[in-house]
Subunit: 211 residues, 2 copies
């Protein structure tokens, strides 16, 4: 009785694990930024370490290789895209409403570090097995877009079209933002997304073509 | 009198120059194909030589380095894009007609060897000075697209929009074709271009939004 509750001066295992994961993500994010600026081949991990104020051996406590870093960066970006489209798919509304919400998320993600890395660098520099794993996620994202378009055509909220070509047209227009958007430029990501999506929804022609 | 016209058994200088240029283009085209399939870093010039049934030293009679080859491939592709948009700009019709014709050309060129190389490989692997030269041509192409859009808005053939974002949306949608189009696939380039452009002109929404 009257004993104090024992408080360990050491950090708990859970807490240590969380700190480790946060630090690993910081490494991946810094690397994604350098990849996006300089390209994968020209990136030196010394520069990544420098940006984090650590030594290169410290990086290797969190990741094993430059290939592993790129794989993880692209995987995080693709997973963000995949989850966002699945989230909007679970919401109510027409397929066109869902598709519009998915496009907005997509445009937002490709202006962020990991999303930008998916488009600007991508899986091409990686070994075949890593490429295959990442392309599987890409195929799922593409399938989700096509399915929304097919649903929209079936219910009448989307104009009849080839869902495959439409999905690629949307993905191309939105992914391109990752290539030309500059945070220092005059346009905000929301405004770019808004205008790009308005064009995809309503087209360039002032009056709808009737057939 | 009665003399025969002298016919030299040697090929003329003009003819030799033409043969040399044709062979150089064949080298560049074979290299573009390998770059497009494998990426720039993974391409070995031995493979390019093999596809042409020549030795690697023979290649070096026409080009000096892998960097020079990529520079020339991207330059040819960009020049094709630039010339095509300037040609349609010189035709009659509304700015929307011209823009549609330019989009059709653009979509066609990015499914061809040099055009595909602009999108799939591009200038990123090259030294800064080469990048700058190629980006100057890109800026001209972008300016031509924006100008057509501005003209269209002014004359009422194109819906009011931000010409910069619209030009990038169009370029993104059409350039993406270079990434996903496979000659072995079920879709012909003309059909892809047609559907992609129809979507950009008329949008996904079945009815035009009124504001």
């Amino acid at each position: 009785m009257g004993n104090k509750t024992a408080v360990s001066p050491w950090v708990s295992i859970d807490e240590r694990q969380k700190v480790r994961l946060d630090k690993r993500e910081a490494v991946l994010r810094a690397a994604a930024q350098v990849f996006n600026e300089k390209g994968f081949q020209s990136t030196n991990l010394d520069e990544v370490a420098e940006r984090l104020n650590v030594t290169k051996p410290t990086l290797y406590y969190y990741v094993h290789s430059k290939d592993e870093i790129l794989f993880e960066c692209v995987k995080i970006g693709l997973t963000m895209l995949q989850e966002s489209i699945q989230e909007v798919g679970a919401q109510g509304g027409t397929a066109l409403n869902k598709l519009t919400a998915a496009m907005r998320k997509y445009a937002e993600i490709v202006t962020m570090d990991f999303g930008k890395c998916v488009i600007r660098v991508g899986e091409d520099p990686l070994p075949p097995e890593s490429q295959r794993k990442l392309r599987r996620i890409k195929a799922v994202i593409d399938a989700e877009f096509r399915q929304l378009i097919e649903q929209g055509i079936a219910e009448g909220s989307i104009k009849p079209c080839d869902p495959k070509i439409a999905a690629f047209t949307i993905a191309g227009a939105l992914s391109w933002i990752a290539r030309w958007y500059r945070p220092s430029g005059p346009l905000e990501p929301e405004e770019i997304a808004h205008q790009c999506i308005a064009l995809l929804l309503n087209g360039l022609s002032p009056t709808q073509e009737k057939k």
